[in-house]
């Protein structure tokens, strides 16, 4: 996993609540047996109509917006556990997703793929949308070590929560398998005397 310390970029707004993982990557694209290519189909049915033509007013297609930060509405990533959703967002080039609320499984999947979910207050989320509305080239800075997200060129900033263990993993590029394998002896001992 890639290391993550700070990230500065423009952002793409997606001001819709309850974006589910079926929208992020529709089920018909889940037939691959590797992690490649999902980025091409991220938000497929919002980005393209049934004839395959790009939907021009969808924010990911709007030339006004670019960058590797996605700013999304409340309860992002609800629904299916498909990690393909995280692979699709990473594949498209996103490094950070900002929302006022993340669904549980999606959040874990994002963290396991070096994609940082940043949960902000509703007020700050609105400030982020407003900043892009005013100037689409606004830069945003996410500092994982300091656990802050700020709007460059302003004094607007907010801190965010992250599990300390997951923070260490993201900063150092570690994953859970390494940690669990280091506990093998404990796991084997547990199996010999399960309390149930």
């Amino acid at each position: 996993m890639e290391k993550f310390k700070t990230h500065t970029s423009q952002a793409i707004p997606l001001n819709i609540a309850n974006v589910d993982t079926d929208q992020i990557i529709p089920a018909r694209f889940l037939k691959a047996t590797d992690k490649k290519g999902f980025g091409d189909n991220v938000f497929r049915d919002w980005r393209f109509n049934k004839a395959g033509k790009a939907v021009s007013n969808f924010s990911l297609n709007n030339p006004l917006y670019s960058g590797s930060i996605l700013i999304a509405g409340d309860n992002f990533g609800c629904g299916s556990s498909r990690e393909h959703a995280a692979w699709a967002l990473v594949g498209f080039g996103f490094k950070v997703i900002v929302s006022s609320f993340f669904a549980d499984i999606f959040k874990g999947n994002a963290l396991n793929n070096g994609l940082l979910p940043v949960q902000v207050s509703e007020g700050f989320l609105n400030a982020l949308f407003a900043a892009i509305d005013t100037d689409a080239s606004t830069l945003f800075e996410v500092n994982l070590e300091a656990q802050t997200i700020s709007i460059k060129g302003t004094n607007l900033s907010e801190s965010f929560e992250i599990d300390p263990y997951k923070k260490t993993c993201m900063i150092n590029g570690y994953d859970d398998i390494d940690y669990l394998l280091s506990k093998k002896e404990l796991i084997e001992a547990f199996e010999l005397q399960k309390p149930y």
Binding site: N15, I16, A17, N18, D20, D22, Q23, P26, A27, R28, L30, K31, A32, T33, D34, K35, D45, K50, G73, D74, N75, C78, G79, S80, S81, R82, E83, H84, A86, F101, F102, A103, D104, I105, G108, N109, N112, N113, D163, P164, Y165, D175, D176, I177, Y179, L180, L181, K183, K184, L186, I187, F190, E191, K194, P195, Y196
Partner: protein
């Protein structure tokens, strides 16, 4: 200290605690299927890590399997490859697989309980969010991502922070025509799609105590639709009777010993919950959804609420419904009875009981997709197939089918489908398809009438 059912099962499975961090939780059973496992097998292979406890894994093919002519090679090339990959991965790693055509093949959350793989007090995971289904047995069961599938392959454990606890209590007697599906759709409509996020939910009260295991599975299945990672119901005699005698259930003395342990699991009186909700059974009616998330549900006698939120409006626009209107009399051309929510024998008995002696409306295509080969066999043996055939319904072969439309079972663009599945997201049942979630009884009635009706008017 007084403990909840969840606390008791969780605490018994903690191997270790990371300082200021998550816990190492031992996983008893790991279920896998073709869609969310291949990348996990690849990862292990690339890192040269063996599967640690293959005998604690059970595999099935369900998500992209066809529901017609299962004896023939799968037509879709990508699906065929993915299924072949699962077979190959299971063979290489000594994992039991109930592949297409096997007498135990079926939807992962139907197959495992009916084989007795699911038992009270266990921890179970699967790369599928509806793993919450197994909580009906008093099991900690939840969906995981593919990275976590790889972690369980490697270590039979997961690194997790203990979720908070939530209890939903429903007391009273359900009205005629109100099924377990209506109970959970009602709860989600009241609590919303993210009220359970970060929580594990226990369902308590008379309504769940009186429910069959099939009904309890329907309820726990949809816990994830209110954001909860899992749902649980305390194991009782109904649970023990269901598990007893099943293929992988403990036998004889071993079973009695387990039952004695399982009886210690229910929540202690006075154990604290982080959040509690109470509902009256008498307030629940047959439910239908009108929007694009499972929280957007109403009683059949209610009208679609008025709400100026842009996301809400976008949702109604997609569904082509109007705020303030009733769903009754909406013409419907597609009906789907199936999915890990409602594809067990009880669901087909309810539907057959209603359909018996009637004919489906001419405009309706009605698909019945059993949850497993065993359910399919039961449908035939109990004579339900004949009832459905006479009524013009089509009984297909088991699989996830039109719940997520990964195979050919897709609802056409702009068509409504009254569906017993769990998600009414945009395009879930096919690009542009419009899903209305309901119980098997409501679905059967819709197929007969060709439109949505208030079933209670017929029953009372």
């Amino acid at each position: 200290m007084k403990k909840t059912l969840f606390d008791k099962v969780w605490d018994a499975h903690v191997v270790d605690t990371v300082e200021n961090g998550p816990q190492v939780l031992y996983i008893d059973k790991h279920l896998i299927h073709e869609v969310t496992s291949p990348q996990a097998f690849n990862e292990l292979e690339e890192r040269n890590i063996p599967v640690f406890r293959p005998q604690q894994i059970a595999a099935t093919a369900d998500h992209n399997t066809p529901t017609l002519e299962q004896h023939l090679p799968v037509k879709d090339e990508l699906s065929r490859k993915q299924l072949a990959q699962l077979s190959e991965n299971c063979r290489k790693n000594n994992i039991t697989l109930y592949e297409l055509g096997h007498k135990y093949n079926g939807i992962v959350h139907v197959m495992a309980p009916e084989l007795g793989i699911t038992q009270p007090g266990m921890t179970m995971v699967c790369g599928d969010s509806h793993t919450s289904t197994h909580g009906a047995f008093g099991t900690i069961a939840f969906g995981i991502g593919t990275s976590q599938v790889a972690q369980v392959f490697a270590s039979q454990c997961l690194l997790l922070s203990k979720p908070k606890s939530l209890r939903v209590t429903v007391n009273g007697t359900l009205k005629n025509g109100v099924l377990s599906k209506d109970v959970i759709l009602y709860i989600i409509s009241k609590l919303g799609t993210n009220s359970g996020t970060g929580y594990f939910c226990e369902y308590a009260g008379d309504v769940f105590e009186k429910m069959s295991m099939e009904g309890r599975m329907t309820v726990c299945n949809m816990s994830i639709e209110m954001g909860a990672r899992g749902g649980m119901i305390a194991p009782d005699e109904t649970t023990f009777d269901y598990v007893k005698g099943r293929e992988f259930a403990p036998k004889n003395e071993a079973f009695d010993k387990k039952v004695a342990y399982w009886k210690t699991l229910p929540t202690d009186d006075g154990a604290p919950f982080d959040k509690e909700y109470f509902f009256d059974a008498e307030d629940i009616e047959p439910m239908v959804t009108y929007g694009t998330n499972p929280g957007m549900g109403i009683k059949i006698s209610d009208t679609i609420p008025v709400n100026n939120d842009p996301s809400f409006k976008k949702s109604l626009q997609y569904m082509n419904f109007e705020a303030g209107k009733s769903l009754i009399d909406t013409p419907i051309n597609f009906v789907f009875i199936g999915s890990c929510t409602n594809s067990r024998i009880e669901d087909f008995r309810v539907a057959a009981d209603y359909v018996k002696g009637k004919k489906k409306a001419k405009n309706v295509t009605a698909w019945l997709v059993p949850g497993s080969k065993q359910v399919e066999t039961q449908i035939i043996e109990e004579g339900l197939k004949d009832i459905f055939n006479d009524a013009g319904f089509e009984l297909r072969q088991p699989g996830c089918s039109a719940c997520l439309a990964m195979n050919d079972d897709k609802i056409p663009q702009n068509e409504y489908c009254v569906s017993t599945s769990n998600r009414n997201f945009e395009g879930r049942q096919g690009q542009g398809a419009r899903t209305i979630l309901a119980s098997p009884l409501m679905a059967a009635a819709t197929a007969i009438e060709g439109k949505i009706i208030d079933i209670t008017k017929q029953l009372n």
